[in-house]
């Protein structure tokens, strides 16, 4: 497909989206569904409230993400080194892959109480698992041939770990970090559904009680935008530091 053609298709897709959105709003095809102009109006009118809520949620997401990445990457590095740890943790990793992290929110609230710590800890744990599992899945797939060709040169286990294993799992680890970055916002918002007094999640619940779908859609749009920025940032980092792994 030529470049022009694909650009045209993208433009067509975006225009159709805007069209369908506003048509379904105008003809009330979806109940309470606001048109795009009213969503923009809501954002402009509640600018200060939404901005402060976004800051609160972003702070929770980023703090949780940092902690989760720290633990996840450390855990991944250890897992890559120790075949014993791999064997011991394997069944749990397989299990946690299918655990929906959102199900843990009430549990965290019970453990920590309705405090900031509970929300950040929840985001951290959700991010940790995403990163850790992505590494755990990459480790068995490190190509044996690279390890052999290093071994034929007399490489020690430490040499192979540093020069072959770590580099091979890095792209997958970055993939996990990228998923964790987007997830951190979802997790932070979800954690605010229960007992929070601020943040975008609280705003969603609050607007929902008042049947303000226009404001709710505005909040969802802001969350999407924040997660997209996080995703883009990680992707730029990946392109900068992992040039060898980026497709042409």
């Amino acid at each position: 497909m030529t470049r022009v053609r694909s650009l045209l298709l993208i433009a067509f897709s975006l225009l159709s989206f805007v069209f369908l959105w506003n048509v379904s709003s105008y003809f009330k095809l979806i109940p309470y569904f606001p048109g795009m102009p009213s969503v923009f109006r809501v954002i402009l009118k509640n600018y200060e409230f939404l901005a402060s809520a976004a800051v609160v949620t972003t702070r929770r997401a980023m703090l949780g993400l940092s902690l989760g990445l720290l633990a996840g990457v450390t855990g991944a590095l250890f897992l890559a080194w120790s075949s014993v740890a791999n064997a011991v943790l394997d069944p749990y990793i397989s299990l946690t892959k299918s655990t929906p992290s959102m199900a843990l929110i009430p549990v965290f609230i019970l453990w920590f109480g309705l405090v900031e710590t509970a929300r950040i800890a929840f985001v951290a744990v959700a991010c940790f698992f995403v990163v850790f599992v992505s590494a755990a899945e990459a480790i068995p797939n490190v190509p044996k041939v690279y390890q052999w060709s290093a071994s034929t040169l007399g490489a020690s286990k430490g040499d192979i770990y540093r020069s072959v294993v770590l580099a091979s799992i890095l792209p997958h680890l970055f993939g996990g970090i990228r998923n964790a970055a987007t997830l951190s916002f979802a997790a932070a918002v979800a954690s605010e559904f229960i007992g929070a007094q601020d943040g975008l999640g609280y705003a969603l619940i609050h607007f929902g009680i008042n049947y303000r779908l226009d404001k709710m859609i505005a909040v969802v749009a802001i969350i999407t935008l924040l997660a997209a920025v996080a995703d883009l940032t990680i992707n730029i980092l990946r392109r900068t530091f992992l040039r060898w792994a980026v497709e042409k």
């Binding site: 060709s149 290093a150 034929t152 007399g154 020069s163 580099a167 060898w244």
Partner: protein
């Protein structure tokens, strides 16, 4: 030190999913210093297993193998190995890849940079130092792997069908390139291939292995002029030697079939 590689009645049985595989049976071979020896045989006959045994990574079960007078029991710094796949590390650029052995051997990289650049030049890869492997063709990648094997100046080169994955034209080019490198560096080379034409073109001596379990079938001294004249592969004499070796292999297979011991090559060796 006249004989650089000495293989004395080595045997290898390894475990596979379908039970033990008797890959090599009392195979012997000698390679003189600076010699170029090829090992041929039907696929699955244990040629690759033999080479892996010589790397010291997958030791033989029986018999002994010596390189430069020392028994082979672990990887050695005076042996360079080139596999069928280039196996370049995708996260390192070409220069970093060819310097990889130096790093692993904890030598001073600066001492080798000049040498490595000369080697890259001799395989016409100057200017590609900062490229990543995926940006290079298969033939170029294999040239890089040759430079990598030569980077630390080993005395011995073990090559396992190094050009087997390349297209026919590139393969012929690589054979000629290899002869040039051999002439210049005077390495002792043991070269495994299933292509008789390639073995005859390259080597001074061709060892023929029987079908599995691989054992000595015959040794052919290749009486062709050095350096190989252009068009040698079109000449009567060359064809005669190739035909003679092929006949030998066919005869080995026929003999095993008559005895009912021939195993079709259902599985590969070291993977």
């Amino acid at each position: 030190m006249d004989e650089v590689i000495v293989v004395e009645k080595v045997s290898k049985v390894y475990a596979s999913e379908r039970g033990p595989v008797h890959a090599i049976d009392r195979f012997s071979m000698k390679v003189k210093e600076g010699d170029f020896v090829a090992i041929v045989g039907p696929s699955g006959c244990g040629k690759t297993t033999l080479l892996w045994g010589l790397t010291g990574l997958h030791p033989f079960n029986g018999g002994k193998a010596y390189i430069l007078g020392e028994e082979v029991d672990k990887p050695r710094k005076d042996v360079g190995i080139i596999f069928q796949q280039a196996n370049l590390l995708p996260w390192r650029n070409i220069l970093q890849n060819v310097l990889f052995p130096i790093e692993i051997m904890k030598e001073n990289i600066a001492d080798y940079e000049e040498r490595v650049k000369d080697l890259l030049d001799s395989v016409e890869l100057t200017g590609f130092e900062n490229h990543y492997p995926r940006e290079l063709s298969g033939g170029m990648q294999q040239r890089v792997s040759i430079v990598r094997a030569l980077s630390y100046d080993p005395k011995v080169l073990l090559m396992d069908e190094p050009f087997g994955a390349l297209d026919a034209y590139t393969r012929d080019e690589m054979d000629t390139l290899l002869l040039g490198i051999w002439k210049k560096t005077k390495k002792t080379i043991a070269f495994v291939t299933h292509r008789i034409e390639e073995a005859v073109y390259l080597a001074n001596k061709v060892y023929v292995m029987t079908p599995r379990p691989g054992t000595n079938s015959a040794v052919f001294d290749i009486d062709l002029p050095r350096p190989r004249p252009e068009g040698i592969t079109m000449e009567q004499k060359y064809f005669e030697i190739v035909a003679e070796i092929k006949k030998r292999i066919v005869k080995d297979v026929e003999k095993q079939k008559e005895e009912g011991v021939y195993q079709s090559q259902a599985y590969s060796t070291v993977t």
